[in-house]
């Protein structure tokens, strides 16, 4: 499938979905739309992914099958400056895929254009309408279940999830993911955006996915938020208890000590944070932090990054890595122990 990715004014650092699909998806990316970087190329900003031009608007994109809205601002609203691009895509019969809280299919103009031009609108965050509460039974699946958790939002959970999946498959392990956010769903073409589910059913949604994919040997569940996050802790707790994981991989951004977007809220030291995760999980289903993932992109020097990883490993008392920089092999070993 050939796609364009809308990421206006936020590529690459605040465009998680765009970068995730570039890195882990099997789509062919024809272009990224970012009006502030128009004329540049993806490769200038994101190494190790297929290159693509960055353009100003949908009008500069050739033939594509779909436009993916590859950004999701806090609150998940729709930015009206994106309207001409979505309109332009629908008018040429392209599908539009989006992970916003605001459902594009419910927008009168977009719905009308999609119908007129035979295009589909897929809102990745729209939950199934038959969800219910958790039964507390996810631990009964055959698969080893590992959950990525974190000390903050945007701390590498999605990346670590797909790096673990890739590494496991390279070892011929029968592995699958349980995506819980729009990027993972866009990459895997499967999943439920747990943050968009009715709060009472959030754990149940995760449990359903774990049980649907429970016949694999290894299941990597994508975590969301953080357990001590002022806004998203509910989603995190629901995933923790709904998935009943055998092991946790704790994700952290090197040097980050306050919550992103909530700078008045401190992040507990990673070692304490790992213990909080274990103590909250334990009564429902005992688990352990079996590995760590440290995002060291802010550290230029490889040796200094290795030292930061070693320090982080000591703090959480488990093997750690930077998945993008150093791979996940020994963390995967620790999970499989």
């Amino acid at each position: 499938m050939r796609i364009a990715i809308l990421a206006h004014e936020q590529f690459p650092d605040r465009a998680k979905t765009a970068v995730g699909v570039l890195r882990y998806g099997d789509h062919e990316v024809a272009a990224v739309l970012d009006r502030t970087l128009a004329g540049d190329h993806v490769a200038e900003y994101v190494p190790d992914v297929p290159d693509a031009p960055i353009v100003d608007s949908i009008d500069e994109v050739g033939a594509i099958d779909a436009l993916l809205v590859g950004i999701a601002p806090i609150g998940g609203g729709f930015d009206e400056t994106w309207r001409p691009d979505v309109r332009g895509a629908l008018e040429r019969g392209c599908d539009v895929v989006a992970g916003l809280h605001y459902f594009l299919a419910d927008d009168d103009e977009f719905a009308r254009l999609a119908a007129e031009h035979g295009a589909d609108i897929r809102d990745l965050r729209r939950p199934p309408d038959d969800l219910t509460v958790s039964d507390g039974t996810a631990s009964e699946v055959d698969a080893d279940v590992v959950l990525t958790v974190g000390t903050d939002c945007s701390s590498g959970k999605m990346t670590t999830t797909f790096e673990l999946l890739t590494a496991a498959r390279e070892r011929d392990i029968d592995a699958a993911v349980v995506p819980t956010g729009q990027t993972g769903i866009a990459v895997a073409d499967y999943g439920i955006a747990v943050d968009r589910v009715v709060a009472d059913f959030a754990a149940g949604a995760v449990e359903r996915m774990v049980e649907e994919r429970g016949d694999h040997d290894l299941l990597v569940v994508e975590g969301q938020g953080a357990l001590c996050h002022p806004a998203y802790s509910g989603v995190t707790a629901s995933i923790l208890h709904g998935s009943m994981p055998d092991a946790l991989v704790c994700c952290h951004v090197a040097g980050r000590d306050v919550v992103h977007g909530y700078e008045h809220v401190p992040i507990p030291p990673p070692g304490e944070y790992a213990e909080i995760y274990e103590s909250v999980a334990d009564p429902v289903s005992p688990t352990r932090v079996a590995g760590g993932a440290l995002d060291t992109h802010g550290i230029d020097d490889d040796e200094a990054a290795r030292e930061a990883v070693a320090e982080y490993s000591g703090a959480i008392d488990a093997p750690a890595t930077d998945p993008v920089r150093f791979g996940v092999d020994h963390v995967l070993d620790a999970i499989l122990e």
Copy 2:
């Protein structure tokens, strides 16, 4: 307002909303509908509330303003055996008030009958449509904020909330509640059913209510679920972080050591549980378990109940009581310290 309360086959022990409104509401209750107890009276089951007959169906109820659906099964579904009663109420122009996940106003027959007969349908769990994520700012309100938390669902949080409110008002303290579930909303005629909110916005919904009522001197926030509950921990975490409470009152049912409805899941010892609440709350907004509420209804002997309360108080290291049996005065003292 004169009402009847539907509680078929579940009155009184599994009819939280029915009993809550009988005890704390200022409605006049004309009858309770429970086909298995028809012919009996409320006073035979629930002491210290105004008496009312228990009847078989809406046909045996005299003039009322509204029918309240006073039960909420796990999952919040609508039991089709209740349909004749709801239909009967609407056909005589009575309003219908319900706290189910299934919205009665969206039921075709009920919507049509309501329109035909000039009746209103109020679904207490329907959230406002303009909710958003938490800003992490609830701690800035003037009020002292106390949150009731628990070791399980149905462990006395709603009861404790309203007992604290009543006791505070008896001392001429300017106090208010933040109801977060259908019963509290039915009693207080205010509130948001946080379990029905999109998971990402659950903390934000609580924050909004705390800020709306933040000018009172004391705000008692009704907790939900439990932080180590296999299905509802997300709602609990959202309320904990969204309300940023100054103090917690931890509710527990004497002798209960497994999660209600999830008997394979143990409840941690109350002292440990109190520490888990504090450790998860702390990074966002430090708080303390300032008091405890022990439901001793399973203990016949008053002296044994007092001993159980004393033991519980020791376990959580804070003053405790059974709010219904012994009042909340010294727990309120501890909160106000």
